[in-house]
Symmetry: C2
Subunit: 186 residues, 2 copies
């Protein structure tokens, strides 16, 4: 951020009164421009035979790899609406959103990710503009080696474990910046 979104003048990093961290403050109108973490919301759409709907990404980051439908929460919607909207946009698929299942903190990229359990309502799905393919996978067919993100891998592993036990419980975890040699599904 270099310029004030309100008046177009230059901003500078400054410690506002009664604050304890530097903010982008306008040098003319003194507006403080806060920057805060963003929410990524996704779904684990399960068809009635137990298979899970995954999307192969058509966009960066991780283009070509598989993921659960997920994306940035928008203003004016709820977290459950975001999960349903992202599934519709990325997979042209309709779901009933169930309980919140996992939360991941990724402080090194200023993200909080929420994954919901969901029931896929019909088989009329197809790739949205951000997906190359959309497909149902059984537990034994999940493309573990070509998953796009760590939270997706961990969520799927927990999901199949909990489903076997018949006991889904909410979990949360904090992820540190991965080392260069870290694999997505370690």
């Amino acid at each position: 951020m270099k310029y004030c979104a309100d008046c177009g003048s230059p901003v500078e990093l400054r410690l506002p009164q009664d604050d304890n961290r530097e903010r982008h403050v306008c040098t003319v109108c003194n507006t403080i421009h806060y920057q805060n973490p963003k929410l990524i919301i996704g779904a684990i759409p399960e068809w009635e035979d137990g298979r899970i709907l995954l999307c192969r990404r058509a966009i960066e980051p991780r283009s070509g790899l598989w993921t659960l439908p997920a994306g940035f929460m928008e203003n004016g919607e709820t977290t459950m609406q975001a999960a349903a909207r992202e599934t519709l946009e990325e997979a042209n698929a309709r779901i009933e959103v169930l309980d919140l299942y996992e939360m991941y903190n990724l402080p090194y990229i200023n993200q909080v990710q929420l994954l919901y359990r969901a029931r896929l309502l019909d088989l009329d799905f197809s790739p949205g503009v951000e997906s190359l393919e959309v497909e149902l996978f059984g537990e034994n067919d999940i493309p573990w080696d070509t998953l796009a993100f760590r939270p997706i891998c961990y969520t799927l592993k927990h999901y199949f474990d909990d489903r076997r036990k018949g006991d889904f419980r909410f979990r949360s975890a904090d992820l540190e910046k991965p080392l260069p040699q870290t694999t997505v599904c370690g």
Copy 2:
């Protein structure tokens, strides 16, 4: 938002390619400026005798009314760190953050609020700059008529109910914009 934070030129509302909602787009450098919901994180600090730490607000909105320590999550931190930091800033109090307890969606103000259970570690607390008073309240002494926000009222009611049953469970709810006659603790 009127000006581009990257180059200072005017922005206009425009539908970017492959998008389905209007965004603020720079008329010169074409940067898309997304706006997303913010996370408010708070704690329910319980002292060993069962009393809960509340803060009386020194700032708007709802100046003069009682609340749990809570505030905007910052970049670079986790949700649990945010709960501890807000409690330290508003009440100069140290807590051990426990499980996530409640989540509220407030889509009409683009907020998601998370409240954590927490153990107050000592009695050396005092008002931070955003608080007028900080005080411990037993269940029968909670100032129900002068609480600042609906999620605070609901969270405290659920908390005391669940504590009586010895079974804290995660809950989430979506709140609509309150009608003018709505009371905080309806």
